[in-house]
């Protein structure tokens, strides 16, 4: 990731070769819930135009879409770029083809996680949820502040229920796949 003002050229280091392309990748992606709109993409770039991350870095949603449509599976799934979307949904709101890029990102990240590429920060948050039932546990200090505001005591999250749900959904296996490579984003 480079800051927007540091960009010198958009030419890649080397041209894409046939061997880099897995032509079935886009069909594989489009089968998932949320990515049904992928094939409708015209690569018009409205997604990049409204992207808040593209405003400050060289990240471009259109480039991600282009790479997916071309079939650069390994590159897309292993790239840090995939974890740059801030999920503001502006691209989704503006896309005339209803590609729903933010939802495509979710599908791609789900695939990447299973290949062993996951954002470390999000993995840590998931671990906190499994441990505490919520992403941010209550500290003694905030508990006292709640009392001063006459707020009711915060109920303990139903951790056992939540863990049963996560286990039943196969999440522990997904976490394990995600940590198989020690890739940090």
């Amino acid at each position: 990731m480079e800051r927007a003002e540091d960009i010198k050229s958009y030419k890649p280091d080397q041209p894409i070769q046939d061997s880099d392309v897995q032509s079935g990748f886009k069909y594989e992606v489009a089968e998932h819930v949320g990515a049904e709109g992928l094939m409708r993409c015209l690569k018009c770039g409205a997604c990049s135009g409204g992207c808040p991350v593209a405003a400050v870095t060289d990240y471009r949603p259109r480039k991600v879409l282009g790479d997916v449509l071309l079939g650069l599976k390994d590159q897309v799934l292993s790239s840090d770029t995939l974890w740059l979307c801030a999920a503001c949904f502006t691209c989704e709101e503006r896309c005339i083809q209803e590609v729903n890029f933010t939802d495509v990102v979710t599908v791609l990240r789900n695939m990447a996680v299973r290949e062993g590429f996951a954002a470390e920060g999000y993995m840590e948050m998931a671990k906190r949820v499994i441990q505490f039932g919520r992403v941010s546990p209550l500290t003694r200090q905030v508990e006292r502040m709640r009392e001063n505001l006459n707020l009711p005591p915060l109920q303990e999250p139903a951790i056992e229920e939540l863990r049963a749900i996560m286990e039943s959904a196969g999440f522990p296996e997904i976490m394990e796949a995600a940590t198989r490579r020690s890739k940090t984003v």
């Binding site: 400050v56 990240r109 209550l138």
Partner: protein, 303 residues
């Protein structure tokens, strides 16, 4: 009117956010809305969790919805992230019937079931549509007419509008309309509808800082008395994040108070700043509160 409250993870546990809970409780109570907290609420599994696994996340969100469904109540939340997650469950149920079965198979292991009968609502939309501008206006004790603020709708209350079904997000009006009805001047300024980078906090901190820097400079250049947010992440970014942006980018005179939407209404209803946690925010709110009180003592007190 009775609603099941989902407060989320952040709102009840962060110093600068518990005022959001306090003000929301006071405002709803003041307006005659009965509430019951969702029992033993758990993480709603928002976008970051959906990034790891979408199906698991739907089932996690459906747990709290199932509890609301058991009580026969619709769900109300002040957190835009939670709102987004819960709306996503019903939306997916409607468009992908096979996911409904899948989620219920998962929930069955925890002796739960969710049939999609709970409507999820964001507090600000609820105040506007279900309570109404007039009822809120009539409850006001203090005129808020002295201040000019920047209202940030954030992202996850409105986008994508096909999913959330409140108002098209490019130039929303309902929040402005509500605040203007009680005298607040809402300024239109560059960047007010743009993302704050909140969801990148903790995983892409540098990028989150660059984006937040731009949003804070937008607000600074607009010469506002303060910002008003409707989203926990927007508030964490603009309020808690302001100090580090000041330091990192060497900005001397950056001091923008950031209020939660219901806090403004609660002040107008006559609650004190301390009662609604305004003294707990990272950026001091004394200035904007003093301005409101001064305006009220000049003859703005309505009753």
């Amino acid at each position: 009117m009775k609603m099941a409250m989902a407060w989320g993870c952040l709102v009840p546990t962060r110093r600068s956010l518990i005022g959001y809970e306090a003000a929301t409780r006071k405002v709803l109570n003041h307006l005659g809305v009965e509430t019951v907290d969702i029992p033993n609420e758990t993480c709603c599994a928002p976008f970051w969790m959906q990034s790891l696994d979408f199906t698991t996340s739907l089932a996690m969100a459906a747990r709290n919805l199932a509890k609301a469904e058991e009580m026969g109540l619709d769900l109300l939340t002040p957190c835009s992230g939670c709102f987004h997650s819960y709306m996503r469950v019903n939306h997916t149920y409607e468009n992908h019937p096979e996911m409904r079965e899948k989620v219920n198979d998962i929930l069955a292991k925890a002796d739960l079931r969710y049939d999609g009968n709970v409507e999820s609502r964001h507090v600000v939309d609820f105040l506007y549509k279900d309570i109404g501008v007039n009822a809120i206006k009539e409850s006001m004790k203090i005129d808020l007419g002295e201040i000019e603020i920047g209202l940030r709708y954030g992202c996850h209350m409105l986008k994508p509008s096909d999913l959330l079904n409140i108002e098209y997000s490019e130039r929303p009006r309902f929040g402005d309309e509500l605040l203007e009805a009680v005298g607040v001047r809402c300024k239109e300024y560059t960047g007010r509808y743009r993302c704050c980078g909140g969801l990148l906090r903790g995983t892409q901190d540098d990028v989150a800082d660059y984006i937040l820097h731009d949003r804070l400079m937008d607000a600074k250049n607009a010469n506002l008395d303060g910002l008003v947010t409707v989203c926990s992440l927007c508030h964490i970014q603009h309020d808690m994040g302001q100090k580090s942006i000041k330091r990192k980018f060497g900005i001397e005179d950056l001091e923008i108070p950031v209020l939660h939407f219901p806090q403004l209404l609660a002040l107008g209803f006559g609650y004190s700043a301390e009662e609604i946690g305004l003294n707990l925010h990272t950026v001091k709110t004394d200035g904007i509160v003093a301005k409101i009180i001064a305006g009220a003592s000049k003859g703005g007190v309505k009753k």
